[in-house]
Subunit: 263 residues, 2 copies
Amino acid sequence: MEERLGERAENGAYNCGLRELRGFDDLPEDLRQELRSICRLRDFSAGQTIAEVGSPPPFSGVVRSGILRMQKSLPDGRQHVVGLLVEGDLFGRVFNGDMHFSLEAATDAEVYTFPRPRFEAILQRSPQLDRLLLLSLLNELDRARDWMIILANPKVRGRLAGFLLLLCTRFRNVDDMVTVANNRLRVKIPLSRPDIAHLLGTRIESVSRGFHALADAGLIEMLRPDLIDLMDLEELAEEAGEPDIGDLAALEMLKLSERRMLD
Amino acid sequence: MEERLGERAENGAYNCGLRELRGFDDLPEDLRQELRSICRLRDFSAGQTIAEVGSPPPFSGVVRSGILRMQKSLPDGRQHVVGLLVEGDLFGRVFNGDMHFSLEAATDAEVYTFPRPRFEAILQRSPQLDRLLLLSLLNELDRARDWMIILANPKVRGRLAGFLLLLCTRFRNVDDMVTVANNRLRVKIPLSRPDIAHLLGTRIESVSRGFHALADAGLIEMLRPDLIDLMDLEELAEEAGEPDIGDLAALEMLKLSERRMLD
DNA sequence: CGGTATTTTGAGTATCGTCAAGGCCAGTGG
DNA sequence: CCACTGGCCTTGACGATACTCAAAATACCG
């Protein structure tokens, strides 16, 4: 029996097809059923705020499509991006926490939401869900540390290179973020220049100059400000001081496999 | 019946007093008993390696005293600090993960260790322990994001200011790291200059200059290279672009409460 | 087509990285 | 007790890089 995903139900909410989400398909059927019963699929349009700092968020959630920005608002009113959430990512502090960060849609996005009390109730008695959450957190922690490594690069060009490589490795199979065209990796950057600048601890002008410097050096090619072809992964990794050689190999594989498909 | 903590047992291992550890005292007695039975207290001296990258660590653990450095080794052989573990912190990737980072003792340290297979077996059937781990991860994730914010500060002085404030707020009640003397906060920095430099994405010379610049501006006072008095929290927070005003207030409270105690 | 927001470029200044030298401290051995 | 040594931190000078402010170019939208 095929379930229909994301279809609007009579009450104005959506039915949820959790099966498609990474990890959730390992959960036992009765648990999925229960989650589905409290789940709502909500649409957010780019720029819309999903959860605010301080106020404990009314729901936990899973991203179905699109990209979400986690950000901290600084006293001067600016926003500081501290992470991205993509398809399959869990969010929403469970238990005794307020959000430390606000959540905004970077692109149009669909999000499965679960009312927090009910979600936590299920969590209380479901080790499997708990485990899923735990693995998700482990994953996010690794990503946060990867960001740290990148941010600690003293030169802006190096941070940009690391940023691009991170986008490719961590968000490889997300939406249309990374594609392959005639043996090149093409990245669609889901952040504006100010966001990139804040994230990498620099200014928009330096971001611009840095990208163009990488382009002049032949490491990348800028089709649009937010659409970049990666021409030389080796050199980029070098520039980034990238410690993780394994991921690089994975990217090469990706290119090759795609090329064979096009042949 | 008082249990004796950290006492060497006949077999050369240590008995473990898990009760004293944050979080563990909420676990049911039988679980604590079981954990105690597989636990070993191990001593590490400053600089000693506790776990290597790649090789899945043979144990999970909890820090009892001292400070541990999480670090990633870069291809050029240098080490890059990505986090600190202090009293009560859990570590050791459970389930399907190799360590992505190596672990070293920054100071002499005592660590409760649990053989991984047995620890995971307990975890499998203990929602409470699972929950504890989950909360610990949530906590670490927040810390990692705080590091990100600090690292994203464009100026070295700002990063140093944020670094000092972070040490005070997150590691407040750890060992002798933060003390209060005649209405000043005094921080003992558990990292060498090279470590600080790597962590903050700069060089040792800039760290030195940055600290001294802060000192000249009257925001701090350097008693020793690794022992610093914080003279003006407001200004430091300003310099750091610190978004978290709440923590600052908490620090002021700490100062005041201590002063009242001295009166 | 005009108007706005975003991105890029340019010029000048501050900051930082780099290399080299000097100072401080602890431990060693005379 | 003192000179010597080595490790770490600091200081200085200089070139590279990045930040700031301002203006121009480009993309975006009605």
